[in-house]
């Protein structure tokens, strides 16, 4: 009676647009088993980092992920500072916090938009991404870049925040609060959304602990874990904010946690900007002694963990990177099994997966195929344009 069918999703996810491969085994509409296969996007960053100096590594690490491009350098510089060990100047701590929180807001908005898009609720998608532009503008004023801010270095930050920029930035941050509140209401009061995502994909508290889930995924299940509160770094112990914890662990709660967290982030950013202390921003660290260090910070998706070992030379001998999705991804087994196929997409999206971060090790094997670099691709594109042009002029 029970005929099982395998539904493959991937290796290129049609909605999340990242490389991963899900094999869903279904019985009728019900998902009975799931297998996740990753590893399509290896870049060898852990190995690469061992070939770079401590300062250069910061830039390599920044490129692990485009969305959370602050969290990896943040954890890395804290790991290097843990080797020495040293405390960075107060002003640097505040600036780091501001950048990290700005990133959290834009990352959560990006996810919220995508989640709306997955559900076919494109109004949320448009609103969230329009709002995200505002916060990216703020980041551009503060760091000079919309993404990949390059603000971090072992011992401090690379760029100061100008005093005259602060009022404008605060005004801009204040201006997004009404829209954020509106978005919060739009999601919380919408009966269709309630009916669609409430009670599906439940990750219970016990399972969350067993799978060692992190960040909003664990906080939605009632596990109060947040590296910002548990082991305060930066300026998080000097400003007032609340950890958002909900109880049910379903998709709806994961949405709520992320929405409310954005408002907390706005609070943190504003307090930091207003109370920016007047000290140095950099310690000018010259030598890294032999030893090992650990840096862990709360990224938008959960705790990012870096382990760095130094042998006294100017390069790390081992650099271990653990992105939050690495721990959150296996929770699929607990959440998807037993649900219907139509709910699988949003349940899979609810942990805010970021596959590119998860797959950062290994050496590439191209097996004799030709590799294209940037120049080759430009040439190919030009050749194609020429071809089209010729075709058109012939007509």
């Amino acid at each position: 009676m029970s005929r099982r069918t395998i539904v493959p999703i991937g290796p290129y996810h049609p909605l999340q647009e990242e490389p991963e491969f899900f094999t869903l085994t279904v019985e009728g509409e019900k998902v009975v088993d799931i297998d996740v296969q990753v590893g399509y996007n290896h870049r060898g960053i852990e190995k690469l980092s061992e070939l770079k100096t401590f300062d250069q590594s910061t830039f390599v690490i920044e490129r692990i992920c485009g969305i959370c491009s602050t969290s990896h350098p943040f954890a890395y510089v804290r790991a290097v500072e843990d080797i020495i060990p040293v405390e960075v100047p107060e002003r640097a701590k505040y600036i780091r916090t501001i950048i990290a929180e700005g990133e959290r807001i834009h990352s959560h908005l990006l996810w919220l938009g995508l989640a709306g898009h997955f559900l076919g609720y494109n109004t949320v998608y448009m609103w969230a991404w329009k709002l995200r532009e505002e916060i990216l503008d703020v980041m551009e004023i503060l760091s000079g870049n919309r993404n990949n801010y390059a603000m971090f270095k072992p011992g401090g930050v690379r760029r100061d925040i100008k005093r005259e920029d602060i009022p404008g930035v605060i005004k801009k941050i204040d201006s997004i609060v009404p829209t954020l509140t509106m978005l919060k209401k739009a999601v919380m009061d919408d009966p269709v959304l309630h009916a669609r995502i409430e009670g599906i994909g439940v990750l219970t508290k016990e399972e969350s602990i067993n799978y060692c889930a992190l960040g909003p995924t664990s906080r939605a299940s009632g596990v109060a874990r947040d590296a910002r509160k548990d082991s305060p770094y930066g300026a998080y112990d000097k400003v007032k904010w609340d950890m958002i914890v909900t109880k049910n662990g379903d998709v709806y709660d994961k949405v709520i946690v992320r929405i409310l967290e954005k408002l907390e982030s706005v609070k943190i950013m504003k307090q930091c900007l207003l109370n920016l202390p007047d000290t140095e921003i950099d310690l000018n660290i010259k030598d890294i002694p032999p030893g090992e260090g650990i840096g862990h910070i709360e990224a938008p998706r959960g705790e990012t963990f870096h382990y760095v070992r130094s042998d006294g030379t100017n390069r790390p001998v081992r650099h271990k990177v653990r992105a939050p999705t690495f721990m959150n991804l296996p929770t699929y087994k607990a959440t998807v099994v037993g649900e219907t196929l139509s709910d699988a997409t949003i349940i899979l999206a609810a942990i805010d997966p970021c596959y590119c971060c998860t797959e950062r090790i290994a050496v590439r094997n191209t097996k004799g195929r030709k590799l294209y670099n940037g120049e080759d691709l430009i040439k190919l594109s030009q050749a194609k344009t020429d071809k089209i042009r010729n075709k058109l002029s012939l007509r």
Binding site: L48, D82, I209, E292, H296, M327, P330, A362, G368
Partner: protein
């Protein structure tokens, strides 16, 4: 329990299993243990002390292999790293995936990248490496050598 009591408790309970106890800083403790007592100590730290498993990190130091299991006790803001040293050719340690599910993937990763066998792991398939990667070649080992003669090296890096 506060920090001192917990550390004293661990030291007293596992006197015969601890090789080295390094109290690095108020937030970091490194405990080197015997490989055979890993499951015992890890279960105690995870279940009884309520710690969260951060991750494990494998290191090849040329002389021996090391695996560090990082646990955080959030209430007292302490990161405990259990260090296990393994010597060639006996690269085997008990799997922790029976104790908590969070260790499943990282053991698969260490298995394929460093070639350490985890006894009792339910599913030691490859996680990150591609299927045409040869058996017995471990990319994060110190003695790793390029095995594919046809591989095209990236010119951009």
């Amino acid at each position: 329990m506060n920090r001192e009591e917990i550390l004293k408790d661990i030291q007293g309970r596992f006197k015969g299993d601890i090789i080295d106890f390094f109290d690095k800083s108020p937030k970091r403790v490194y405990i080197e243990i015997k490989p055979e007592s890993l499951v015992k100590i890890a279960s105690f730290v995870f279940k009884d002390l309520g710690a969260r498993f951060n991750i494990a990190s494998g290191v090849d130091t040329r002389f021996h292999m090391e695996i560090l299991y990082h646990f955080t006790i959030e209430e007292i803001n302490l990161l405990i790293s259990l260090r296990v040293k393994l010597f060639k050719p006996n690269l085997e340690v008990d799997s922790l995936s029976g104790v908590f599910e969070g260790a499943n993937w990282i053991e698969r990763e260490i298995h394929e990248l460093l070639g350490i066998n985890f006894k009792g792991h339910p599913d030691l398939r490859r996680l990150l490496l591609s299927d045409d990667w040869p058996e017995g070649v471990y990319p994060l080992r110190c003695d790793y050598q390029e095995w594919d003669k046809d591989a095209v090296r990236d010119r951009g890096v």
